[in-house]
């Protein structure tokens, strides 16, 4: 056996070996958190965990994007592992091409918040990107345009579009990723941006979780605002938002503190950012929290009689002077903290402890603080959701393997019946099998999460692969024996014209699927296209060489 003459066979063997390595070699990273993007998603900005991930966090569990189980490194998507997939756009309107000087951004936000009667947290002015966004369902395009006009920006209604900016989408995906990874009850999953037509969607996949579990985690924005609530001296109360997640630089695991009364108090220790710390320190002194307000929150009283309190609010915080959202906890200014603030030392070590009524509320608060708030709510009514029971999914997995094998047997049967010669038919079936094997190796190597559409693609590859091998076999075995290598080479080239042309049509026919985001079908298209390429470039030429050694001997 001459290696040089049989380089195509050598190439096939090399690919099979590579596929085996990809499929079976133990990977050190298999139990480390992976940033695997699911197959259906376009490349997304996964800004991961931006330094807010405290080490030793007792709620963080080891996560994997998609479950790899069994003896191989193959990853399986939701249709074969079970779990929940949610695809939804973000609620919001965007005004494009608005020239806002950077210095005016905050003023415009406050202006618009008053005009539209929304929280400033529902607005985002990006002077660099020249966009203004509003993240609520309650504002129409018309209202948004006229509010912008009233604030002195010439924006027409037709310059406002449905949807949010790329930046907002990326922030949302980062927050969702951190939420999914941080939630102790979930065993992994991730979020990504996908596009369908002109619209952008957030795609969330959580293996093993039910629809309700996922919605519990991502159903609201998880916005947390600390609000100063205090008497204004004229007989009424004021509410001033102090900081939200944006003002928190670092979040530590939940701790249990002993209260003076001997009870237990779950708390989330945090560190504020420099800006938030300065703002907080000034506000506390100005509003009297560090003087008459020390230890002066009567939590058992109604809101308009309770004194000087720091409210932890889940929701929009303050709109038009009123609390909007749920007050999770009311806390008083402690004497120690008041001292630190009065000595202007707070800014040097801005540690702030957020309390919660019980341990589970504290865990939830910790997760929300750490993951950050979603910039906009998910519009769950305009997307899709999918849940598959994990036990049923694992049935699909083993059944589809059997289906593939049976299809392979059927092909083998037809081929043996047609050629009646093991020397021709056996290599044919083995080559087609090698093609699928290499393709599986490819899937493992690139971390493609296999779904049912990929399985359909694999079976389609068996079909096309054998078709082309039949063309090669018939061309070479045609009347008149192959006497020399040259005759063989000429016939082989002729066969390849058809194979190349057929491969090109298949790739062209399926490329719309790979490009258009019909979501669930991208996998099918990718597997089939890669399969055709592997076939034409590697396995089918090798079959020609194998056949030559059969006929020339």
């Amino acid at each position: 056996m001459n290696l040089r003459e049989n380089w195509r066979v050598v190439l096939l063997v090399v690919f099979v070996v590579l596929a085996s390595v990809a499929l079976f070699a133990p990977t050190g990273s298999s139990d480390a958190p992976t940033n695997q993007v699911p197959a259906q998603s376009t490349q997304s900005a996964q800004n991961g965990t931006n330094g807010t991930n405290a080490s030793g966090n007792n709620t963080t569990v080891t996560v994997q994007a998609n479950t790899t189980d069994g003896p191989t490194n193959l990853k399986f998507g939701l249709e074969l592992s079970g779990g929940t997939r949610i695809r939804a756009p973000l609620v919001g309107l965007t005004a494009e091409g608005v020239e806002v000087p950077a210095d005016n951004a905050t003023t415009l936000e406050q202006d618009l918040a008053t005009r539209l009667n929304v929280s400033t947290l529902d607005l985002r002015v990006d002077s660099q990107g020249r966009t203004v966004e509003v993240f609520t369902e309650n504002v129409t395009e018309e209202q948004f345009a006229s509010a912008l006009q009233a604030s002195g920006y010439d924006v027409q209604q037709n310059e406002i579009r449905d949807g949010v900016t790329e930046q907002t989408l990326e922030t949302a995906v980062g927050v969702l990723d951190r939420k999914i990874r941080g939630a102790g009850s979930l065993s992994g999953g991730d979020a990504a941006i996908v596009r369908s037509g002109g619209e952008a969607f957030v795609l969330i996949e959580v293996p093993g979780a039910t629809r309700a579990e996922v919605l519990e985690l991502i159903g609201d924005r998880g916005q947390v605002v600390v609000v100063a609530h205090f008497p204004d001296g004229n007989g009424s109360y004021r509410n001033v938002p102090l900081f939200s997640q944006d003002g928190i630089a670092n979040v530590n695991p939940v701790q249990i503190q002993q209260t003076q009364q001997g009870g237990e108090q779950p708390v989330v220790p945090t560190t504020l950012t420099q800006t938030a710390a300065e703002n907080f320190s000034d506000a506390m002194q100005k509003f009297g929290f560090t003087q008459q307000g020390v230890s002066a929150c009567r939590t058992n009283m109604p809101n308009d009689e309770d004194g000087y309190c720091l409210y932890t609010v889940r929701g929009d915080g303050v709109v038009d002077g009123e609390i909007r959202g749920d007050v999770v906890y009311k806390a008083a200014m402690g004497p120690d903290l008041a001292n630190i603030i009065n000595n202007e030392d707070f800014v040097k070590d801005p540690s702030f402890v957020t309390s919660a009524p019980n341990r589970s509320a504290a865990q939830r608060l910790q997760l929300d603080l750490q993951a950050g708030a979603l910039p906009a709510e998910l519009d769950l009514d305009s997307g899709t959701s999918y849940y598959l029971q994990p036990s049923l999914a694992s049935e699909f997995k083993s059944f589809s393997v059997v289906t593939g094998l049976v299809a392979m047997l059927a092909v083998a049967g037809v081929v043996f019946f047609r050629y009646r010669e093991a020397g021709v038919a056996l290599p044919m079936v083995l080559t087609a099998a090698a093609e699928v094997y290499i393709l599986l190796g490819f899937a493992a190597a690139v971390g493609l999460a296999l779904d049912l559409s990929h399985i359909a693609g694999f079976i389609a590859v068996i079909g096309t692969g054998v078709d082309d091998l039949v063309i090669i076999a018939d061309e070479i075995l045609q009347s008149g024996d192959v006497k020399t290598g040259r005759v063989f080479a000429s016939r082989f080239r002729k066969a390849f014209w058809v194979i190349g042309a057929a491969a090109a049509t298949t790739i062209i026919a399926l490329s719309p699927l790979a490009v258009l985001s019909l979501g669930d079908l991208q996998g099918f298209a990718i597997v089939t296209i890669v399969g055709v390429l592997v076939g034409v470039l590697v396995t089918r030429p090798a079959y020609g060489d194998i056949l030559r050694s059969v006929v020339l001997d």
């Binding site: 249709e79 849940y387 047609r418 096309t464 039949v470």
Partner: protein, 294 residues
């Protein structure tokens, strides 16, 4: 070497007109079915939930189809659109028009309340699905145009190229008509299968054209050789797809997606056998004996 001989038609006995008549008649009937369907339902083929929007719930229960409808309609204000047996054993697929998040919550809690095990829930909003439908049609159109252009580039002559394109067109139209007749809905799986057919079904046509136009030997000899190879190819694929359809169907394993992909490919490949060896062959023979001479 003993060989299994593919049955061939003695083409010399029939005129081009006679040969073309059968595939054209079948194509006409198929188009009539599609047009009729369009007139009756407003769509050339009934779209499934992926393209209309709706909620599909798969539950496992020993209750009967009537009891399931009753159970949902007494607990929720939403009408049950259909109840079908799914998978093997006691799995049922229940569909609703309702898609809003709160509605889906009500439906799933109704299922739990009735004591059914939820095996799968999938819901797609109408707006999302409308966009998917537009993209699917666009995709099929683009794939067909792309394939046609490639065929014209490959052969650079009108009649042989149009023969391939016409045959591929019929290969798509016949399965769509059959989908209407057998009540198979247009799903993501069937769209994939139709696209696959565009790429798959031209293989045997390319082979035939290549043998007739680019090889030495008489027309009938070349056709015979191409047919022997081509029929083997198509029969192999039909075998693989029939087996996949059968094994993954709800009578055996009950795997979603695979049966619908398989059945549409079986329809299309079978149509391709007829189209390649009656339609394409006669157009090629016309081109070889009359088209060039003119």
């Amino acid at each position: 070497m003993s060989r299994f001989e593919v049955q061939t038609i003695d083409y010399t006995r029939y005129s081009n007109r006679q040969l073309v008549a059968i595939p054209l008649l079948v194509l006409a009937v198929a188009l009539a079915v599609i047009v009729g369907w369009y007139a009756l339902t407003g769509a050339p083929v009934s779209p499934g939930i992926a393209f209309t929007g709706g909620t599909e719930l798969q539950v496992s229960t020993t209750a009967s189809s009537g009891e399931i409808t009753q159970a949902f309609e007494s607990r929720t204000p939403y009408e049950v659109e259909s109840v079908q047996q799914a998978g093997s054993g006691n799995s049922w697929l229940v569909t609703f028009q309702a898609t809003e998040n709160s509605e889906v919550r009500q439906i799933t809690s109704a299922a739990e309340d009735a004591g059914y095990t939820i095996e799968s829930v999938s819901s797609r909003s109408a707006s999302f699905s409308g966009e998917s439908q537009r993209q699917a049609l666009l995709g099929i159109g683009a794939a067909f145009v792309g394939m046609s252009l490639l065929v014209f580039v490959l052969f650079r002559t009108f009649v042989p190229s149009i023969a391939v394109v016409a045959s591929a067109f019929s290969d798509i139209v016949i399965p769509i008509a059959l989908m209407n007749i057998f009540g198979i809905k247009l799903t993501l799986g069937t769209v994939a299968a139709l696209l696959m057919l565009i790429g798959y079904s031209v293989d045997s046509d390319l082979l035939l054209n290549n043998h007739v136009l680019r090889r030495s030997g008489s027309f009938y000899e070349s056709t015979y050789r191409a047919m022997r190879t081509g029929v083997t190819m198509t029969v192999t694929s039909i075998a693989a797809m029939s087996v996949m359809t059968l094994v993954s169907s709800r009578f055996v394993f009950g795997i979603p997606l695979l049966p619908e992909v398989g059945i549409v490919l079986v329809f299309g490949l079978t149509a391709d056998l007829m189209n390649t060896y009656l339609l394409n062959v006669s157009l090629l023979r016309y081109y070889k004996y009359e088209g060039i001479a003119k």
